[in-house]
């Protein structure tokens, strides 16, 4: 079974600065997908970024980028130019490819990020 670990329960950053959230995972699979989801106080889960394991290039979405280290099974999220609206709980998630497990996410415990003005 896959596991996802987020070792930072809480993080804080000043507005306009950069912050990195950590995530490690454990799997014996070679093909899979990794995600970062954001859950603001409204509680809706919002997809931030996605990474395919077969791609060596790190995914980027505007101010959000990942550092994907497949051998180390590490998938960190970097938020540049932090904004107050980035305050949320962030979840790292894993999904197997194919078979009967596609579409099913395994989530980490979450990291609460607070952006201070």
């Amino acid at each position: 079974a896959q596991t996802v670990t987020q070792s930072q329960p809480e993080m804080s950053v000043q507005e306009a600065e950069t912050v990195t959230l950590s995530c490690t995972y454990d799997t014996s699979e070679n093909n899979y997908y990794l995600f970062w989801y954001k859950q603001p106080p409204s509680r809706q889960m919002i997809l931030v970024i996605r990474q395919e394991a077969y791609k060596q290039q790190n995914a980027t979405e505007n101010r959000f980028s990942v550092n994907f280290q497949k051998a180390a099974k590490s998938f960190s999220l970097k938020i540049s130019d932090s904004q107050l609206g980035d305050t949320a709980m962030y979840f790292c998630a894993f999904m197997n490819e194919g078979g009967t497990s596609y579409g099913k996410l395994t989530f980490g415990q979450g990291t609460i990020l607070t952006v201070h003005p």
């Binding site: 509680r43 889960m45 997809l47 996605r50 596609y102 579409g103 099913k104 996410l105 979450g110």
Partner: protein, 114 residues
């Protein structure tokens, strides 16, 4: 565009009472549908998923059940609620034809069992 609706937003129910949470998806056909639960201060746990009408798979043994009476409707139910059923329940969908499709979540239902 696709949208997902989940209701009610909040619910307070006594122990032993029944439960019915509903989720509907618009703008897509034959979606994969999911029910997740988030306990306080913790990550999400997959409860049920469905790849078609009447097809339900349970991930964890529990006091809850799920049904999919129509293509884009997913219902979470219980005959008798337990205190441990309290939590935040999220419905989600993904495209059936794309195994890389990310999940899109509804706004969630906060259930408090008293």
């Amino acid at each position: 565009s696709q949208t997902i609706h989940q209701w009610p937003a909040t619910l307070v129910q006594p122990v032993g009472s029944p439960l019915s949470l509903e989720c509907t998806v618009e703008g897509t056909s034959n979606p994969n549908l999911y029910w997740y639960r988030q306990a306080a201060g913790r990550g999400l746990q997959l409860l049920f998923y469905s790849v078609g009408i009447g097809q339900i798979s349970s991930e964890v043994p529990q006091n809850l059940s799920a049904s999919r009476p129509q293509d884009r409707q997913f219902i979470l139910s219980s005959k008798k609620l337990l205190l441990s059923d309290s939590g935040f329940y999220l419905c989600a969908w993904s495209e059936y034809w794309d195994t890389r499709s990310p999940l899109h979540f509804g706004n969630g239902t906060r259930l408090t069992v008293t």
